[in-house]
Amino acid sequence: MEQLIKIMSEIRPDLDFEKETKLIDDDILDSFDIISIVSEVNEQFGIEINVNDLLPENFNSAAALYDLITKMLNE
């Protein structure tokens, strides 16, 4: 989780990812932020989040994204 928060904070230093829970629903992250986060996460965690996984429920919070990463690592 720490590694994920670090990735997200480097892309959007203005946000507190431990508190935000409506990153997509409230339009806090824009499309450029999302593709950047996905690119970094894919590289650092060795997984392949693709366009099919771009659902609000996977990106609304760091915890939700972490769940997706964990699920992909276990598959």
């Binding site: 499309s31 932020d33 999302i34 593709i35 950047s36 690119s39 894919n42 590289e43 693709n50 771009l54």
Partner: protein, 527 residues
């Protein structure tokens, strides 16, 4: 059937009555019959294209879902992680093949119908240079009503099922009801099956409050279209059609008037169809969020034709930027120029596809491509120069939250989007360039001493309607933008509310008999 007609009003009333009279479980079937009846006015023969495109995407979606369901059993029996991965790879390959071929055929029909003449015109340009006289004749088939919209609805549905966003619809007629829903078939909004499709299938009770709200919104829509768009459009057509005579200030006026006309026309249509859907209890996606209050061109496109933007974001921007090429570009840019370019470059790359598609979607003409690329250039430049602008603003002691700065940004954005539209308004690039040239020469400043002359070919009484109408709509938009319009609507005493609607109805009725009127269809319907 023109939505601005008595026959549409009668059609809508009969439709709504039947919709609420029949047993609720058959309401969706009434919608389907209404859609077919509405389509029949444009030529029932054209419905064949809708049936083919919807059938292809319907069957492909079911096949994709069946493949996924069948694989679940295989996956549960798989003994190792490698076996699971191998099964998933085979399933994904099958899904991709079906989805790709279905999209090629469905969108291919639309591409052939819409772009054949554009393609032939360009081939002929080449032939003219190589072998004069050997030109290929254009095709004369007509573009079926709403094909650009229902093809995109169908394609979006198929891709969503492919992405397992929601289950495939198993009843073709229910799916066809979504695809052919007549309020969104002429000029949008772009709807999603998990929103509109589900909403249509639900059972709807009649609600008096909802009817009043929907009817009021329809009234505002008719007002925008009849009192503003169709009247100011007379002056726009007269000036743009004779730009050599009406140069300088006239052209500048027409440039902004065209912006007002487009908004009143398109947003007016959205108010009518969203209002009508509201009466039925069916939720139609919103397409506008006071676009002329946008502070940047990028923001403008998040407020104007919102559903087109989100369609391209979901089905073009993300697949391209997250594809292998986009991701490689990101990594390369990050190593070469740092984190910022690493973040922006895949997006820029995808925006080229988005704006090429957006331009061509609006029209099979180079003018629309140029218009699209002008938007692209300004949007990417704004993103690229953000840091520079922030430094400049700090040096000049400009505060982003200051009212004067917000107003400056809003005016600047309005000027830019109106300026770009020279290219979407002109029939070809040469004319667009000439129109631009005549905007800057022979200024005819003297017309400003008598500004009503700017409203070329518009009667005095209609100038009054345009001005009053624009003021009313602008005031409503300002109140909505600052967040008080909804509160005013709720707390407004009944007598004032009725007075407001009486004024709008009176203006509408009075303006119906005027001489300066385009009396045409909706501008976005031609896209």
């Amino acid at each position: 059937m023109n939505i601005i007609s008595l026959e549409f009003i009668i059609f809508a009333v009969v439709f709504a009555l039947v919709f609420f009279i029949v047993p609720k479980k058959w309401q969706w079937a009434v919608v389907l019959l209404g859609n077919i009846a509405f389509y029949a006015f444009a030529g029932i023969g054209y419905i064949i294209y809708m049936i083919i495109i919807s059938l292809i995407t319907f069957l492909a979606a079911i096949k994709i879902e069946d493949i996924v369901n069948a694989s679940k059993d295989e996956l549960s029996k798989a003994e190792s992680l490698e076996d699971k991965k191998a099964i998933k790879a085979v399933v994904n390959q099958k899904k991709r093949t079906i989805c790709t071929w279905a999209l090629i055929v469905a969108m291919g029909i639309w591409v052939v119908l819409k772009y054949t003449n554009f393609f032939l015109d360009n081939v002929n340009l080449l032939i003219e240079h190589l072998k004069p006289g050997a030109m290929i004749g254009n095709v004369s088939w007509a573009l079926p009503l709403g094909i650009s919209f229902y093809t995109f609805h169908a394609a979006g549905y198929l891709v969503d099922v492919y992405r397992s966003k929601y289950p495939a619809e198993r009843n073709y007629f229910k799916y066809l009801t979504f695809i052919s829903y007549f309020p969104h078939i002429i000029q949008g909004p772009f709807s999603r099956f998990d929103e509109l499709g589900v909403s249509i299938k639900e059972e709807h009770k009649f609600s008096y409050d909802r009817m009043c709200e929907g009817a009021a919104r329809m009234l505002i829509g008719f007002f925008k279209k009849i009192v503003i768009a169709d009247k100011i459009g007379v002056a726009v057509n007269a000036i743009f059609g004779n730009y050599e005579t009406y140069s300088g200030v006239y052209m500048l006026f027409a440039m902004f008037a065209y912006g007002i006309q487009l908004y009143a026309d398109f947003a007016g249509y959205m108010d009518i169809v969203c209002g009508f859907s509201k009466i039925l209890g069916i939720n139609l996606a919103e397409n506008f969020k006071r676009p002329y209050f946008a502070k940047t061109v990028d923001e403008f496109w998040r407020r104007w034709h919102i559903t087109l933007g989100t369609w391209f974001k979901d089905y073009v921007f993300y697949p391209v930027s997250m594809g292998k090429t986009g991701q490689k570009m990101g990594k390369w840019a990050r190593q070469k120029w740092g984190a910022k370019m690493g973040k922006l470059l895949p997006g820029y790359f995808a925006l080229i596809f988005v704006w090429t598609a957006t331009g061509l979607w609006h029209g099979a003409n180079w003018t629309y491509l140029v218009w699209g690329y002008l938007n692209l250039i300004v949007i990417t430049m704004t993103m690229q120069l953000t840091d520079f602008y922030e430094k400049l603003k700090a040096k000049l002691h400009i505060k982003s939250e200051a009212l004067y700065w917000k107003v400056f940004c809003i005016v600047r954005t309005f000027i830019l989007v109106c300026f770009f539209r020279f290219f979407s308004a002109a029939p070809d690039i040469t004319t667009a360039v000439k129109m631009l040239k005549y905007t800057g020469i022979n200024m005819q400043w003297n017309v400003l001493t008598s500004p009503t002359k700017l409203f070329v070919d518009v009667e005095y009484i209609d100038i009054f309607f345009i001005i009053i109408g624009t003021i009313i709509i602008t005031l409503i938009d300002i109140l909505d933008e600052v967040g008080v319009w909804e509160k005013i609507k709720l707390k407004c005493p009944m007598i004032i509310r009725n007075l407001g609607f009486t004024i709008i109805i009176m203006l509408l009725i009075m303006s119906l008999g005027s001489k300066s009127d385009l009396m045409g269809g909706f501008m976005y319907a031609s896209f």
